[in-house]
């Protein structure tokens, strides 16, 4: 099967991007230098094409009930234009995916747009429609992934860039996790103050066919998925399919450090399993590590005690471009999770000294 392409594939190729496969999509990984793109976001402003993210729209009289029963957070807390981070878990409480749920302006009823990760659109469409049918709910579910292009404008300069391109959005008045429909370069877009970098910023959904108009109107350094990964890693943000995965890294929201998105006073698939775990406590937890010796922690490397007993695994790692220090994320038993605990990471079979650090690795 061929890879899916974002609408601006050719624009990125002309700009000198190299591409990588991610979630079944062929996406820009870097334009010139991951380090330079990373620095642009931390110090000024960068723009990412994240059109590979999935989008599903849920509407109809029972839209709220369906969303409430398939996500762990409380969607009834959302007013139109609000959004929330949330998790989608299975019966055992294991995370299938994480997502941001937006409440769009009401039509006859409430309308939700949620953003699963790349390549999860079909799976989530099936999950939403089969539960809807099983529960006999009156809701319309649409996979609108290829109706919307999505750009993330991130960095301390993001407000200036978005204000210039979309003065109607009054981006300054949007608080974190708020969103609005607004005109960007003559195109109606969904402009949200959300992101995945730890910086101030906006995510802009625009009609697929108008992607180039909107992209060109946003003055920022083009950035690829390489720097998107190093930026989120410095913040300790989870990457779906890597820091959790129902098959290869089955983790609950409590283990993955996102218990704050679980609202046990709502009813959702997986709730009872999570309530049990919340009462019993977790055995392993998500932590950060920094290497004290030279080297780079990578996905799949073992975490061991100082004596060399393997106790956990690195799920993500890199050389932090901001700190110039090797950093990683992973899981260890809770008794090893305290800040400053000495551990080691097995890099190509060699023990390197490391220390537990509670993310974020940088001050924001």
């Amino acid at each position: 099967m061929g890879l899916r392409k974002p609408p601006l594939y050719d624009v990125h190729a002309d700009a000198g991007a190299t591409f990588t496969e991610f979630g079944g999509w062929d996406m820009p990984v870097e334009y010139d230098s991951i380090k330079a793109e990373h620095a642009a976001v931390r110090e000024s402003v960068g723009i990412f094409d994240v059109s590979h993210m999935s989008e599903l729209e849920v509407s109809g009289p029972d839209a709220t009930a369906l969303m409430q029963r398939l996500t762990t957070n409380d969607v009834t807390a959302l007013d139109p234009g609000d959004s929330q981070y949330s998790a989608i878990v299975n019966d055992e409480g294991v995370i299938i995916d994480d997502t941001v749920v937006y409440r769009l302006p009401d039509r006859d009823d409430r309308v939700y747009l949620f953003i699963p990760n790349a390549g999860h659109d079909e799976e989530m469409y099936d999950r939403w429609t089969s539960y809807r049918d099983e529960w006999d709910l009156d809701a319309t579910v649409e996979d609108v992934t290829e109706d919307w292009a999505m750009f993330a404008v991130q960095g301390p300069g993001a407000l200036g860039t978005v204000s210039e391109a979309a003065p109607d959005a009054s981006p300054d008045d949007l608080s974190k996790f708020q969103a609005t429909f607004a005109d960007v370069a003559g195109v109606e877009c969904w402009v949200a103050r959300t992101g995945y970098t730890g910086e101030d910023g906006f995510e802009i959904l625009c009609p697929w066919d108008d992607a180039e108009t909107v992209w060109s109107a946003l003055d920022a350094t083009p950035c690829g998925l390489g720097s998107r990964d190093t930026l989120r890693l410095e913040m300790g943000f989870l990457l779906s399919g890597q820091d959790f995965d129902p098959e290869t890294e089955p983790r609950t929201p409590y283990e993955a450090g996102i218990g704050f998105v679980v609202k046990l006073d709502t009813q959702f698939v997986g709730r009872d399993a999570l309530e049990q775990q919340q009462e019993a406590g977790i055995d392993e937890t998500f932590v950060g590590v920094t290497l004290l010796d030279r080297g780079v922690p990578r996905h799949g490397y073992d975490i061991a005690t100082e004596d060399g007993d393997v106790i956990g695994v690195v799920t993500s790692g890199t050389m932090s471009p901001t700190l110039s220090e090797p950093i990683g994320l992973g899981y260890v038993p809770v008794e090893y999770a305290a800040d400053g605990t000495n551990v080691s990471i097995l890099v190509r079979g060699r023990e390197k000294r490391a220390e537990i650090v509670t993310p974020p690795f940088i001050d924001q």
């Binding site: 870097e30 230098s33 991951i34 030279r294 780079v296 990578r298 471009p321 090797p326 190509r348």
Partner: protein, 126 residues
């Protein structure tokens, strides 16, 4: 177009070596550093190590990739570029100059003949 200096020989795996019979210097090509992107870590042999042609002598890591490094020729390591430990980006900035990796006293100067010429290496990268 990537730079491929005429005064050295190359491996298919993108290492270069100078061809002096007493002390040859070894590094990776401009093409290789560009493919890797920002280099953040190199692991090199130690002075005195004995290497055979084709041996894995170290590892180079960029933000996005990890690659093994292979010795173009056999011999004894006589010097290591320790500047790379603190400034691995020298490999990106100057792959044929300050980004060199180590020097070796060749044990068999005939081995240079079996390496790729600049022209042959250029064909490979095109």
């Amino acid at each position: 177009m990537f730079e491929i200096p005429d005064d050295r020989k190359y491996l298919e795996s993108h290492e270069w070596t100078t061809t002096e019979s007493d002390t040859a210097r070894i590094g990776i090509s401009d093409f290789a550093q560009d493919e890797l992107g920002d280099v953040v870590f190199v692991e090199l042999p130690e002075e005195g190590d004995e290497l055979s042609a084709g041996d894995e002598f170290g590892v180079i890591e960029s933000i996005k990739a990890v690659s093994d490094l292979y010795a173009p020729i056999s011999g004894t390591v006589t010097a290591v570029n320790e500047d790379l430990f603190d400034a691995p980006e020298l490999v990106n900035d100057d792959p044929y100059g300050d980004g060199w990796m180590f020097e070796i006293e060749p044990s068999d100067a005939d081995e240079f003949d079996s390496l790729l010429s600049p022209e042959e290496y250029r064909e490979q990268t095109e």
